[in-house]
């Protein structure tokens, strides 16, 4: 091995961290890191990844070098995931110097994501079309679109202030539900349930729920259990967030009338 093992571990750790927080599966993280370290000529590579951390260990001339990366929070960013995957393939194929690889990693992280306005439309369209998909009418879709527009800044803001996932999802679902609940209480003809299902499709961990069982089937039980806990707590938060405005309006209406 001609590269400095510590620098190599830093590179591998950073690639692993970015893969994981941008939504890569556990096996992809472990496989990619193993291949990268193999490409640089490491032997006895041990990589262990769970959603919360990655542990990498390599042996050079009988000396152990290891690195632990702690990971907090993750999302789905397919653009970065694809780019990181390309980068790790490129590293295996061309074996560039660590500095070059690091520069390319930086470049991926610097490249622009969608501007806010397009993001807003994406969230709104996702909610609106799922409302139609589950049988809502066009008026319902328009209201759901507004709900989607509320969810996006809420999620970004809560991520910025590092709120936990329970509170984040509770607030996002509550804010998206208040507006349609109020409209219904003043007698607008619409289907509240369809609107709410459309809006919360942006939040519910359906994909995560499916991934839990995919992890079980591929043998990553620790991952599966920790993700299952997340799925349950997030769906509970969403349900609480939706129930709160509905029951509050009912209470107020009965108190008035």
């Amino acid at each position: 091995m001609k590269e400095n093992p510590e620098e190599l571990l830093n590179l591998a750790g950073e690639i692993g961290r970015q893969l994981l927080i941008n939504g890569a599966e556990i096996y992809r993280v472990e496989d990619s890191l193993e291949h990268i370290l193999q490409a640089y000529g490491c032997e006895q590579i041990e990589v262990f990844a769970i959603p919360a951390c990655i542990i990498i260990n390599i042996v050079e001339n009988g000396v152990n070098h290891s690195k632990t990366v702690r990971i907090k929070g993750s999302g789905n960013n397919m653009f970065r995931l694809g780019a990181l995957n390309d980068l790790s393939r490129k590293i295996c194929r061309e074996i560039p110097s660590i500095q070059t690889a690091q520069a390319e990693l930086e470049e991926i992280l610097q490249s622009p994501l969608y501007p806010d306005i397009i993001s807003f439309i994406g969230y709104g369209a996702g909610a609106a079309f799922f409302t139609l998909f589950w049988g809502g009418k066009s008026l319902d879709a328009i209201i759901a679109f507004c709900g989607g527009l509320i969810i996006k800044p809420t999620l970004s803001y809560m991520k910025e202030v590092k709120a936990n996932i329970f509170f984040t999802n509770l607030l996002a679902s509550m804010l998206s539900a208040i507006f349609p609940v109020l409209l219904q209480s003043i007698g607008v003809p619409m289907h509240l349930d369809k609107i709410i299902i459309g809006d919360i499709m942006l939040l519910v961990p359906g994909i995560a729920m499916t991934n839990v069982f995919r992890d079980v089937l591929s043998g990553d039980f620790v991952t599966a259990v920790s993700k299952l806990a997340e799925v349950l707590i997030v769906s509970l938060a969403i349900a609480v967030g939706i129930i709160l405005p509905i029951s509050a309006t009912k209470l107020i209406l009965t108190a008035i009338g």
Binding site: G23, A24, E25, R28, H35, Q38, N76, N77, M78, F79, R80, L81, G82, N85, D86, R89, C92, R93, L113, Y114, I118, S119, I121, G122, Y123, G124, A125, G126, A127, A128, F129, F130, L132, F133, W134, G148, I197, I200, M201, V204, P205, G206, I207, M209, T210, N211, V212, F213, R214, V216, L217, S218, V231, S235, L236, I238, A239, V240, I242, I243
Partner: protein
């Protein structure tokens, strides 16, 4: 006569989700959304012929095979197409209903809805894993032949 309009809605909803998931290339967005629409098309076709979990399973198989083919064509991880492709199928609404029944204190409906949701999730997961595992075994064999041919493992 079955109503195929939801396929169009699924396609459009998938485009929205592609933006949420930061899929940047236009051809990826269209390809991934088509795989979602195709999955829902199969789901509708099987209406009344199978249990809900069975329909989810077959529809997921279709989405997963399409995703793997697209991944080969565009040289990118299949996950991009798979995640978007199964969005119309994933039991998001069911998961919400389950928790809703729990909060309302309707334990009987909570059980029924919970089991249905878990069943669909397992069906989708088995469908994904089946296709992914077969592809991985095939790829692994390829990388083993690399080792024996050149004496050095290249992935």
């Amino acid at each position: 006569m079955l109503n195929f309009l939801p396929c169009l809605y699924a396609f459009c909803a998938c485009i929205g989700f592609c933006i949420v998931f930061e899929v940047h290339s236009m051809k990826f967005i269209l390809a991934a959304s088509s795989s979602g629409a195709a999955a829902w098309f199969v789901y509708i076709l099987l209406n009344g012929r199978m249990s809900e979990a069975g329909r989810c399973f077959i529809a997921t198989l279709v989405a997963a095979v399409i995703s793997e083919i697209l991944a080969r064509i565009f040289k990118t991880p299949a996950t991009i197409f798979l995640i978007v492709g199964i969005i119309p199928l994933v039991p998001g609404g069911g998961l919400y209903d389950t928790m809703d029944f729990l909060l309302k204190g309707d334990t009987r409906m909570f059980e029924i809805q919970g089991i249905r949701t878990v069943g669909s999730a397992i069906a989708i997961a088995v469908g994904c894993s089946l296709v992914t595992s077969i592809v991985r075994i095939k790829n692994y064999k390829k990388s083993v032949t690399f080792v024996t041919d050149k004496g050095k493992k290249i992935s």
